[in-house]
Subunit: 321 residues, 2 copies
Amino acid sequence: MQHQESGWSVGLDIGGTKTLAVLLDPSGTPSGQVRLPTERGAEAVVDTAATAAAQLLTRADLTADDLTGIGIGLPGIVDPVGGRVEHAVNLGIESGVPLAEEVSGALAARLNGRGGSRPVPVRLENDLNAAALGAAHLRGEGGGDLAFLALGTGLAAGLVLDGRLHRGVGGAAGEIGHLVYQPGGRPCPCGQRGCLEQYASGTSLRLAWPGPGDRPAPVALFEAVAAGDEAALAVQREFADAVAAAVRVLLLTADVAHVVIGGGVSELGAPLLQVVRERLDHSARESGFLASMRMAERVDLAPHGVPVGAVGAALVGRKES
Amino acid sequence: MQHQESGWSVGLDIGGTKTLAVLLDPSGTPSGQVRLPTERGAEAVVDTAATAAAQLLTRADLTADDLTGIGIGLPGIVDPVGGRVEHAVNLGIESGVPLAEEVSGALAARLNGRGGSRPVPVRLENDLNAAALGAAHLRGEGGGDLAFLALGTGLAAGLVLDGRLHRGVGGAAGEIGHLVYQPGGRPCPCGQRGCLEQYASGTSLRLAWPGPGDRPAPVALFEAVAAGDEAALAVQREFADAVAAAVRVLLLTADVAHVVIGGGVSELGAPLLQVVRERLDHSARESGFLASMRMAERVDLAPHGVPVGAVGAALVGRKES
């Protein structure tokens, strides 16, 4: 990432259930956070985004003129140049919505007298791309190579290569969840069978280990393993093997320095990292070639308690993407 | 690729059996070729490289001072900065050899009076990386994204992303031949089982279709298919499915605009391209997601009769990498 002269910026990570917003000071340090529930539909999404940005400015006693820009990371098909989003199914947005322009307008209306002399530029980015930028920034790796591997509803990655976001020609870079992992295996909504996503996502974990229902499936599974449940151990190993396969795809194709695991399942923390590393070490024991790539030590977790996606979005807001 | 002010350059593609050399004029157009047999061992490799470069200069009536530089693409572990190569098993080079410096010296000695006033700078690059650069250059895609997928002794790719060579942090980008394709499948010398390379390389074809021995295995196989041999058809389909899987890895991970198939097997030409495209279309028929990526039309063959690797090496020689 080139660190150009910048003022303050706001980053928003708009997910299916919550919207995380962060204020980045001119040095690139997070200096304020807001968390709001996401409501469905374009109007509600715009409203929540403007509310979150206004709250951050008010708390820090800043005006819109202090902002270099606002960046928004969100799922779906994002047009970073035109500022439009479509097919963001989780957010209830189907047709093309000029989200950048609408958030800029809603923020100006909200700030009223303190809105500054010009509309704040708003830039959009795919949520995983934003998270990859944020993760690279937080590791302090200017010019680094890094993949952000999200284990959430699905499985996909964002790539920062040679210090720059790599979107791919059609924005599909990192869509490794639809590589076939088990030929003839579990059916995938994409139409194929055996897709990696059917074995290495939060959804796949929930299907493989549905109970008990009072806590998140990954937590229940790992607790059952700790209690000595053999069936749970088998499910955990199958999952960790699939995550390890995703890591190998990223390292053998793009040879990034680090794979940072994020997404909902990553809230398991150290125990998740440990089993994934164990499975990577297991395959390294049978292959000198894999061993030479030292994969286990190149995998890490996204930093805990830091909204990586929102930080990356703030970098997009100040055009570091 | 940035096209900077450049003079002439020479590119050498040193393979296990032959050394191809090309002279690139200041506009980037190939304007002379030499082909010599490769002999094993560092001394012979240096000698052949210097001979080829000297022949190109003499024929074009140029001196060493007319050259911006010489680039050499070769298999093995290449240190582009230090100009050293090691573990180039096909060339009989095991320990680290300062090849760049030695070729520069050998060329000066060979040219004698016409050697110019300074040593010609020589730069090394991995052969697949050089081929990817050459393929992007020959397609006329400044700033393009492209993977060069080599179907040769093994299976690997070189990547040009956002117009620049992507080597990866350890030089392992594109090593997709060692992703597992068939869990528990054919043993691979790397120590794993079911590696993609065991299904989608020239070696795998030769093992699956050994006879008749009077012509290259890929040619014999495709002739047998054309003659209606059912067993040959099954082998051809298994091979094409594996190549299609390699294409999907490259497109779903890096989302390059084009995958260009090269390597020895690509000499089959159009019939190879046709079966690979057919298998990609086959999987697109079962998956709307894959269909949306229009993979079949993004696959192409390396241009016939043009030494793609040597052209790319010449670009390395004038520092466009």
